[in-house]
Symmetry: C2
């Protein structure tokens, strides 16, 4: 089955200069895909000239005159940019002309436009953003990463279901371990929302392993880690900050003097292997889950290598019909759920 991706070629920090080469590279690797490049035709055409005649049948340009700015407000993007590459991309999925959408643009605008154009799946109150993080044992999926603050227990349950279906689709693991992010102190274990979410996840038909703590993310204790968007965003950004600090400290220590520089040269292949292992570019491509369509968000600063990974992820999710699977799984969970006693009973 051929999968068609609609790609916002204008988004991100670098626009078509980075995104079009990623598209070409992606098409060369995945013979079963077609890409609709959305954006200003004049801006895209020169970059697509490098595609080569072998790929000619597998890409097309869909002109869109406007671009949503990286710092543009969500309301402005939604109301005033009806012909933005992001909006046109979402419309292509809505109209069935594409199976998935990929953008490196402004996250808030992408979420708002996707939600407005595609709508949420039945049984899903709020879409969520799921990202992949490396772990000691492989990698794990964390959601939500910033789309939702002030979540209810029901939202967290839905995140668990969506995350499990995402892992099933992308990793072909039908019973991924789902953990709920909590804190460890005995007497203060979580707030009321997290406690109730734990009850809901327990009866949702998932392979729910209970509470996990922050360090469990990187231990690989769970395949899916569920949390509200505030906590998830802080965990992700804190990790980025720490990783960056460690990179800088390592570089500084190896460039301290002539002896450390030589040591650095000798250790270079090992350090490069280490870097490749934690290379966040390989984990690029966050999924906007809970929508009637596959939407993948690339990091704004992604290079072509990173953007290609986002494209691959989108194609795989579309191939596995992720939205249908989520909808089915939510329906099953709602049926399975016995009424959970609440504080008022």
């Amino acid at each position: 089955m051929t999968i068609t991706l609609a790609v916002d070629c204008m988004g991100g920090d670098h626009g078509p200069a980075v995104i079009v080469p990623a598209v070409i590279d992606f098409l060369q690797r995945d013979a079963d895909c077609h890409v609709i490049c959305v954006g200003r035709e004049d801006d895209l055409r020169p970059h697509l000239a490098n595609a080569g005649s072998g790929l000619a049948e597998r890409w097309s340009i869909h002109h869109a005159a406007e671009v949503v700015g990286m710092d543009e407000s969500v309301s402005s993007a939604l109301r005033n940019k009806k012909d933005s590459s992001m909006r046109v991309m979402a419309n292509l999925v809505k109209e069935g002309k594409a199976d998935a959408a990929v953008s490196a643009g402004n996250t808030g605008a992408l979420m708002a436009i996707s939600r407005f154009v595609l709508k949420t799946l039945p049984g899903i109150d709020r879409p969520a953003i799921a990202s992949i993080l490396p772990t000691m044992k492989g990698h794990t999926y964390v959601l939500d990463l910033g789309a939702n603050v002030d979540c209810t227990a029901e939202h967290l349950q839905q995140f668990g279901i969506m995350g499990a279906m995402l892992v099933a689709a992308l990793e072909h693991d039908e019973r991924p371990r789902v953990g709920l992010l909590n804190i460890g102190e005995e007497e203060i274990k979580g707030n009321e929302v997290v406690k109730r979410a734990s009850e809901l996840l327990r009866v949702s038909g998932l392979n729910f392993i209970g509470n996990v703590e922050g360090d469990d993310i990187y231990k690989g204790t769970a395949d899916v880690v569920v949390c509200d968007g505030f906590v998830g965003n802080v965990a992700l950004k804190t990790s980025e900050g720490l990783a960056q600090m460690i990179r800088v400290f390592l570089r500084q220590e190896f460039s301290r003097n002539i002896f450390t520089r030589i040591a650095g040269l000798i250790a270079m292949p090992v350090l490069n292997a280490f870097r490749a292992r934690v290379d966040h570019r390989r984990y690029n491509g966050a999924s906007l889950l809970g929508l009637k369509g596959v939407v993948v968000k690339s990091h704004g600063s992604a290079d072509s290598f990173a953007f290609r990974h986002a494209l691959t992820r989108a194609a795989e999710a579309a191939r596995e019909r992720l939205p249908e699977k989520i909808a089915a799984s939510v329906a099953v969970a709602l049926e399975k759920m016995e009424p959970v006693p609440t504080l008022c009973d």
Copy 2:
């Protein structure tokens, strides 16, 4: 002025075998301190035999028959262990026989016992736990780290004041930069509590620099990072997990084969310098703030080197009369505060 520390010598994963040597090392370095070693006399005496006659006047043993278990419930510790080393240590501060308390025991029990015995300062609703983290520029203090979930905006404001006073006491920086941990998405910036806390911090007389994000912790953007205990605990534990993963990956890459092992030997001094720079043992000693007395919590798994740092931190906070400073600063903030319009106005 001589500072007297009451030290729970039975707490932590290793008890007196690690804590007493740390006390001896501490006394040798800080000539103006006295330590009351609290715990089972028979367990402590053999370890104190190594103290040497030069220190004989500077330590004493205060017998306490019981020990709070590392996994013991807070309610059990509070109700059934009236003669625990932790409880007796807190009593010594309460009675003015010691200027500060240090324990590596169970965090929940330490907080509950400290709060019960010492009480909170006027103007403080809830004590908080503040810890130190390394940053690109030095280090920063983060609070709360797990004592309080479901915080109000007023609690977060109090955390800001307490954190600022802690930095003033330990770093002799009278106008530390205070940041409020938030998330970055334009339209969803923080929840209602964080938005209101931002207003309260702005009028509190602190050097409030506004919102910071997770990565700012390690960038060193602020000297004090304020957040609720759930978020803070997740940020801390996530960091611990990531740091551990990076350590393991580095070790694995350097032990892959004979060539990488040789590279590792050559790079060893550099890697050791790097490790020393991010050595969490140097940051051991979290402050329980907002109590009528100085209480410092050491990591349960601390070794003697790490525990000594907790002792040093406690002595410094006591020397600087931290609780009095916090009380005064809270009073000033309450006076300075203009009434902030609420949603109901």
